[in-house]
């Protein structure tokens, strides 16, 4: 009977510890690029199972090692077969190199692969250690505490909502502690522990856990002291995130992706070159496609048939971007695609002609995307397009109700599940404005304000019943272009303004400039390089009489479209962005600025540069006394105080948790230095020994006589030394005899020594 009980409670303990460990591992699949719950689930489960079965070390090593290899292959080498030497070699090299890096203490430079490897090894070690933790109640407390600490830090410092996990871990942890205590009591083997006792005990565990939860739920809680995540943590990590890329900040790689149905999560930087463009116009946004249907999670397409774009191609007829009376300038551009490029045919402005050598072109009417029949990446394409200049007074003249039916149908769509607070916000932002342009600019201003932070990392993914826009606008307030552009489109649509979401690439990095004489006319052409990091999304708003006007809601990006103000008759271009400290850096200026610094050998791509600017701007707006240039972090004493405070708190907690150990160590050392010479020193030694025993978990209750206690001790340490020693002590404290003979002293010292010796083993 006791054996089956032991097995049942053993299984129960491991199940509960699995639940706790799983709750701690789950955030990894949400916050990092290791987004496979199944892999982690199986890994933790199998590791713990092996630990439970207590298999021989080599089996444990083989199985866990195999699982680690499989997981690493799954996450990083899926393009190669599992049984190939290549990736193993790469893996070996990477581990070797990073071990060196780690040795140098350069933690930020570690590769994702290495960090993942270490994570798995750590999980393995935790499962192995679990056996030890579960065998003694005190030891499990450490794991329990660390699990809660880890979850609460994740909850406070990231966007992971660990609330439910914490509740689960608390309940499971309390249950583990209760079961462990029960096993401990059984071990002592009191025959009065009956079935009734067991059911009472477990009922008590349930009641206590329930009471703990109830108090936790009902009890008063102070309001959040920090924004989520704490802003000082943010700066802290900005300082650190300059190093290539951190696995913990990365959700997916930046780049052009066809599928936008589920947006969200962090982005990792990738500067693979996709194409270069030589254009006669200014650096523009290169659009690839637009999307109309917002689903609450991302953007979808309507299914519409492709139409052939036969020569002569008149895009103007098929896709009307601008009304005919918008001032335009004719430009040309040539794209040269690299091997890494996906199948895309970017264009800009009002496309009038596109040619791809040897391919017939088709147009997806729903998205405005241009495709070839083969749908394979092409080496090169040429376009001719019109670059518009929008008249702001004319934009301001637009009244509601002038939109064509087709536009209203397509570009006012919203999911029915869109939270009301989004609509309310849209109305609040636009209500005071009299015209569509000012309304759009109000939304742009709102999104570019310091309420929101531009960042590609630590961006949360909306949970299953969360709206992507709602999450960004009201909860996370941190994100990148997709967040800003989608939010703007949805806000405008909520306010009744037709808008669409456009994706493509930002202008790219300036490369060089050349002058060419074409048809006797001097033409200046500028070359830009576009990489994955230039992938971008923005918003176009429909203005009857002008057409689709580009707006840029993402901070740190400038609107490439040109606008003309009425007061300024020259068509001086001014960005529609309202960055106060950016002045009016039009594209030419930007180009020349970049021209002035061509000598920089490791010129980072423009997106990264812009990102740097973004964080600058954020810092400036967030706090005026912060450093003006670059992400150099001056010592923030709050951070230092916070770290020092938490370190000392952790130290105190650690000391308190391990007090039995170090106190016992202290008394043991004292015991060894004690020699019994007379009744006084005997008394000191005996009392000291009682303290040690109490700290070792063999405490004496007040109503227990010394002899009863000594018998308990002797049962635990197996022997009769304590009883013999106690008899001497009894005769000292209960009789009138106070002197010790030489033989007795010798005997007493021997007994004390052997008890201490037994405690050590």
């Amino acid at each position: 009977m006791p054996k089956t009980i032991n097995r049942t409670t053993g299984v129960l303990l491991y199940l509960l510890s699995f639940i706790i460990l799983w709750q701690c591992v789950k955030p990894v699949t949400v916050l990092t690029i290791l987004q496979s719950e199944r892999i982690f689930f199986v890994f933790v489960a199998v590791s713990l199972l092996l630990s439970y079965l207590n298999v021989p070390g080599w089996i444990n090593f083989l199985v866990n090692g195999g699982m680690i290899l499989y997981s690493l292959h799954y996450f990083y080498f899926q393009d190669q077969p599992f049984f190939s030497q290549m990736w193993m070699k790469q893996l070996g090299q990477d581990l070797f190199q990073n071990a060196g890096t780690l040795w140098q203490g350069n933690i930020l430079a570690l590769s994702d692969l290495f960090v993942t490897f270490v994570l798995f090894v750590l999980l393995w070690l935790v499962s192995v250690a679990m056996r030890h933790w579960l065998s003694r109640p005190g030891h499990f407390l450490l794991f329990f505490f660390l699990a809660l600490l880890c979850l609460s830090i994740l909850d406070a410092a990231t966007f992971y909502e660990a609330g439910r996990s914490i509740v689960i871990v608390v309940v499971a942890g309390l249950a583990v502690l209760g079961i462990q205590k029960y096993r401990q009591i059984r071990e002592i083997g009191d025959p009065s522990r009956t079935k009734a006792f067991r059911s009472r005990w477990f009922a008590m565990i349930v009641i206590l856990s329930a009471a703990t939860l109830l108090i936790g739920f009902v009890g008063p809680k102070p309001n959040a002291q920090w924004t989520n995540p704490p802003s000082f943590l943010e700066h802290f990590s900005i300082a650190g995130s300059n190093a290539n890329n951190s696995i913990f900040a990365v959700g997916q790689r930046i780049g052009y992706d066809e599928d936008d149905s589920r947006l969200g999560g962090s982005l990792g930087m990738d500067t693979t070159r996709l194409f270069t463009v030589r254009t006669s116009g200014s650096g523009n946004y290169w659009r690839v496609a637009e999307k109309d249907v917002y689903t609450g999670k991302g953007w979808d397409n309507r299914n519409e048939p492709l139409i052939g774009l036969d020569d002569p191609y008149n895009r103007y007829q098929t896709l009307r971007e601008y009304e005919s009376d918008t001032p335009v300038q004719k430009e040309t551009a040539t794209f040269a695609f690299s091997n890494a490029s996906p199948f895309i045919l970017p264009y800009t402005g009002q496309l009038t002609d596109m040619r791809v050598p040897g391919e017939a072109l088709r147009l997806n009417q729903a998205t405005g995307q241009i495709l070839t029949d083969a749908r394979k990446p092409v080496p090169r394409s040429d376009i001719t397009y019109l670059e518009p200049t929008f008249q702001i007074p004319k934009l301001r003249n637009v009244k509601d109700g002038q939109d064509p039916q087709a536009v209203r149908e397509r570009n006012l769509q919203l999911p029915s599940a869109l939270p009301n607070r989004v609509r309310a916000l849209a109305h609040r932002l636009t209500d005071g404005k009299t015209n569509r342009y000012d309304q759009a600019m109000a939304v742009v201003d709102y999104l570019r304000s310091s309420r929101f932070t531009y960042s590609t990392d630590r961006v949360p993914r909306p949970s299953r019943n969360q709206d992507y826009v709602d999450q960004f606008l009201f909860e996370s307030k941190i994100g990148y272009c997709d967040n800003f552009s989608t939010s703007m489109a949805v806000l405008l649509r909520s306010a009744g303004i037709p808008a669409r979401w456009v994706k493509g690439f930002s202008a790219g990095t300036y490369m060089n400039q050349s002058e060419k004489t074409v048809n006797g006319k001097k033409e200046r052409r500028t070359t830009y390089e576009i990489t994955n990091a230039n992938a971008h999304s923005w918003v176009e708003v429909y203005f009857p009489g002008s057409g689709w006007v580009t707006f840029e809601p993402t901070p740190s990006f400038d609107n490439p479209s040109e606008f003309a103000d009425a007061s300024n008759d020259q068509a001086s271009s001014s960005p529609a962005s309202s960055q106060p400290d950016n002045g009016s850096p039009d594209e030419q200026e930007q180009t020349s600025r970049q021209q002035e610094q061509p000598s920089q050998p490791e010129n980072p791509d423009s997106a990264e540069q812009k990102q740097g600017n973004a964080s600058n701007n954020e810092q400036k707006t967030a706090s005026a006394n912060r450093a003006e240039h670059g992400p150099t972090v001056d010592i923030d004493w709050r951070v230092v105080g916070w770290i020092a405070g938490s370190l000392s708190a952790a130290a105190v907690v650690l000391l308190a948790l391990t007090r039995k150990k170090w106190l016992a160590g202290f008394y043991l050392r004292r015991q060894k230095n004690l020699t019994i010479e007379d009744s006084g020193s005997f008394n000191t030694a005996y009392v000291n020994l009682l303290r040690i025993l109490a700290l070792k978990g063999i405490g004496r209750s007040e109503a227990q006589t010394l002899r009863e206690y000594a018998e308990t001790v002797d049962r635990r340490i197996e022997g009769s030394h304590m009883l013999r020693l106690t008899k001497y002590y009894e005769s000292m404290i209960y009789s009138d005899k106070k002197e010790l003979s030489a033989d007795e002293r010798k005997e007493l010292n021997h007994l004390c020594g052997s008890i201490v010796g037994r405690l050590h083993t």
Partner: protein, 320 residues
């Protein structure tokens, strides 16, 4: 008599009695404690568990005079104490001592007789003399009463009043022997009286000297305070109507001294107190009516008190 010899005598006696009364070492020990403390014992148990055998074995071991009185409802006090009979030849009254005049007396089924007779016995137990025909007659110096009462019969019994129960130092119950001991017992049943082979290992004088020795067993102040803590707790316990009297306190002190002596020590340790206290205290406590609803007996209350009272442990003099 030196300590070692005294301790040797006690353990000899216990061993000797145990050869006859199998597997009842504990009860023998308690009875020895009562004998050495100069108290009396009340055994509450069913007939046939060896009460008489036990007492006779003890009596024979110390070579003492043994008397057995079967209490019946028609028993008169004079049947115990003895009567004066007119001797016609010498023309005067001559005292014929009753069974109470022995050294060791077994008073069987004490609750069957009338209170009048009971009180005659109890007077003798307390006062060490009896009064017959206006003459006070001293009982022998070694006077040890072991009374029994049958707990399962209520019809036709006179329950001993609390004041009289107080006169017994210990109240014990024999209990059934263990299965193994009962098995041995069957093997030994040869038809001969087992007491015939029992020799006496000490004399009445020895016992009297031992009784004197017991009085000198050292009881430290901390132990005395511990005793008082326990006794006071019985007076304060919420379920106890009547706590232990000062006579009980003295009895407990004598009992722990005797126990320490039986355990071959010349000082008392708290374990002695814990071991003997239930037998000394339980029959001196009257529980409240509520206690019976909660199924709480006097021995439960005493056990609870013993598990709560702080045991004196540290030598305060050498620890600041």
């Amino acid at each position: 008599m030196n300590h070692d010899r005294a301790h040797q005598l006690v353990s000899n006696m216990i061993d000797n009695v145990e050869t006859v009364v199998v597997g009842k070492r504990k009860v023998i020990k308690w009875i020895t404690v009562a004998l050495l403390a100069g108290g009396h014992v009340l055994i509450e148990d069913i007939p046939g568990v060896g009460k008489t055998l036990l007492v006779r074995a003890i009596a024979k071991s110390i070579g003492a005079d043994f008397k057995r009185i079967q209490f019946t409802p028609d028993l008169l006090p004079s049947d115990l104490t003895g009567v004066s009979i007119y001797n016609q030849k010498e023309a005067r009254f001559e005292f014929r001592p009753g069974p109470l005049m022995g050294n060791i007396i077994l008073a069987d089924e004490i609750n069957r007789t009338s209170p009048k007779t009971q009180s005659a016995l109890l007077e003798g137990m307390a006062e060490r003399h009896v009064t017959v025909d206006g003459t006070s007659r001293a009982l022998p110096e070694l006077f040890f009463v072991m009374a029994t009462q049958n707990p399962i019969e209520y019809e036709g019994t006179y329950v001993l009043p609390e004041a009289q129960l107080d006169r017994f130092l210990l109240k014990l119950s024999m209990g059934y022997p263990a299965r193994k001991d009962e098995f041995d017992m069957m093997n030994r049943a040869t038809g001969r009286d087992p007491l015939d082979d029992l020799r006496s290992v000490l004399t009445v004088d020895d016992v009297l000297r031992l009784q004197h020795e017991v009085r000198s067993v050292f009881v430290s102040d901390s132990i005395k305070n511990y005793l008082l803590d326990i006794v006071t707790a019985t007076r304060k316990h919420p379920m106890i109507y009547l706590g232990v009297s000062p006579r009980g306190t003295l009895g407990l002190l004598q009992a722990v001294q005797a126990l320490a002596f039986v355990e071959q020590r010349d000082f008392v340790v708290p374990d002695d107190v814990k071991a003997i206290a239930p037998y000394v205290l339980c029959h001196r406590i009257v529980m409240k009516q509520e206690a019976s609803y909660a199924n709480l007996t006097a021995s439960d209350a005493v056990a609870e008190i013993l598990s709560q009272i702080k045991v004196p442990v540290l030598n305060k003099e050498s620890i600041q």
